[in-house]
Symmetry: C2
Subunit: 218 residues, 2 copies
């Protein structure tokens, strides 16, 4: 697991959050609008020109490669490029996880048109994506880092687009293995259940820094 | 499984494809650029204004709700809103599946910064998303429709961002169940393996129309 440390203050983190969060929110709107628009061809082309201009503006100066997993110097997590929770990633719904004191991880979020598979339903692969993340987060909620070994999902019924809830918790420990169970639900109850086996790295030799163990914090 | 039929010609489908494909490609560029940009604050705000203008242009007229699963009147598939393969969905990498004559489904695609989890690696949930789709496509490659019952994934090693290959095939049939196996690979070999149980609907009573059974065709 590789990390990047950035020597910046909490104020600087807040400043960057305030700068990028509204931009990313607008790009999420754009993704949705491209799917649902019914404007005439000239308007589509005009929107295309605007998007191209925005890309050119942003690409004038950029990092090589991907964002990486970054922490500030005092180990505040900044997983802003992450595909599921990233503050700067418009693909991320985003899912914001919350850890209870008993190690249970929960997340409430909304999935719209961009996450569709069957008509009006969440793509099964998106259900899998969210559950993989939430189970992984629960797997390291005990301050002992781990990586995903296996994950199994059972689809009980279609998951409707809209407001959803996911949760997960460690249910068993066996040597370097942690068994984590979780589920995805709508207002009527569970739609998908999941179980994963998470593995503690062989060379692990102590607790993770308290502030660094919270990848759910965007 | 609900579908929408649109009474349009092949020429009209081509026209719409030529209109929306470049726009969606630019939005994918934009998602990447928002993650990787290092331009100054004023330039970020300028990009934000351009994105907002594009959203307003496209939202002037739009459908209610999500795109749905559409076919043309002669049953050519148009899953353009789909989260994994959609022509109009910038979240979709897109993964374009190809079916061999023996029922094996393969897909070659590239995942960049927007699909990151661990540094320089594909988010495990994105691996799960792609494999869920490719296994599902393989599951119905025999003209008998099915839905996902369970899917299990084994993560062999981290999947690097970049060029990837996925494939899947039905390996066993047992009554209404089809067992499908597949994998995700980079140039060095498999990174994730998957097995799914797919279920044929109880009321299924005949083959699907040949042209309608190809959700992998964007």
């Amino acid at each position: 697991m590789e990390f990047t440390l950035e020597d910046i203050s909490d104020d600087e983190i807040s400043r960057r959050r305030d700068l990028y969060e509204p931009l990313t929110a607008s790009v999420r709107e754009l993704v949705d609008a491209v799917i649902r628009t019914e404007v005439d061809d000239d308007s589509v082309r005009e929107a295309h020109r605007l998007v191209q201009a925005a890309v050119e503006t942003l690409r004038a100066e950029q990092i090589d490669g991907s964002y990486g997993v970054r922490f500030s110097a005092d180990l505040q997590g900044m997983p802003w490029g992450n595909a599921v929770i990233g503050l700067r990633n418009a693909i991320a719904p985003p899912v914001q996880t919350v850890r209870d004191s008993d190690g249970r991880v929960t997340a409430d979020f909304t999935l719209g048109a961009a996450y569709e598979g069957p008509s009006d339903c969440v793509h099964g692969g998106i259900c899998a994506m969210v559950l993989d993340h939430v189970l992984g987060d629960a797997g390291s909620a005990d301050d002992v880092p781990c990586y995903t070994g296996t994950i199994s999902l059972r689809f009980l019924r279609p998951t409707p687009l809209g407001s959803l809830h996911a949760e997960a918790v460690i249910v068993e420990r066996d040597g370097r293995k942690k068994i984590v169970q979780g589920s995805l639900s709508d207002a009527q109850g569970q739609t998908v259940t999941a179980e994963g086996v998470f593995i503690v790295p062989k060379n692990w030799d102590g607790p993770m820094p308290r502030k660094a163990r919270r990848p759910g914090e965007a």
